[in-house]
Symmetry: C2
Subunit: 113 residues, 2 copies
């Protein structure tokens, strides 16, 4: 099985720890590994190495963009791959219906994870 761009994205999103990191970066952009490590530690008990490994997966998928600043590594969420997923299965004709349904669903269930 060949590995494509999109394959990396979906594999990256398949892990809840990595999704938690994306949430953290969505809330506040430009966080360092150390900062992310602390956030993750609040939810799971994972070593720095685990966090680093997960970040590498997110970078490979282009979901996270990195900028080095001194001895720190700052991370930024890249929403483009998410948008590409959306476009794959939701076309303009169904979009408005889906949005209405989604609002209903959200109101009924409140928060996940």
């Amino acid at each position: 099985m060949i590995v494509t761009d999109q394959d990396l994205v979906f594999k990256a999103l398949a892990d809840s720890t990595r999704r938690l990191m994306l949430d953290a970066l969505h809330e506040q952009s430009g966080q360092s590994l150390g900062a992310l490590e602390e956030i993750v530690a609040g939810h799971t008990d994972m070593s720095r190495f685990g966090v680093s490994k997960h970040l590498k997966v997110l970078e490979a998928a282009d979901l996270v963009i990195v900028r080095k600043q001194g001895r720190q590594k700052l991370h930024y969420l890249n929403p483009v791959p998410i948008r590409v997923i959306y476009d794959r299965w939701i076309d303009k004709y169904t979009e408005s219906q889906v949005r209405a349904l989604t609002n209903l669903k959200q109101r009924a269930e409140n928060h996940h994870e």
Copy 2:
């Protein structure tokens, strides 16, 4: 690690065979297991059992909705979970920028997978 609704969705999307099935259902709704089996067989070499197992994962994630008709089982794509993913990391304020960037990216790369 607890398993949530969204967890099932992301796990389901992590496999390229399952994404292929969603593509097939996006193109034509209401296909039977046998029909999907044929489509999948055109891309990979997988038995009917494999296809059936993948479909069960997609159903559990609510990405595919099933309707039984006689001895056939018809499958329909449900776009709502995809929309929920989108809403998780793309808010209204960044939406228009992301759309512009995505168009650029698509034009540059053409097709994936």
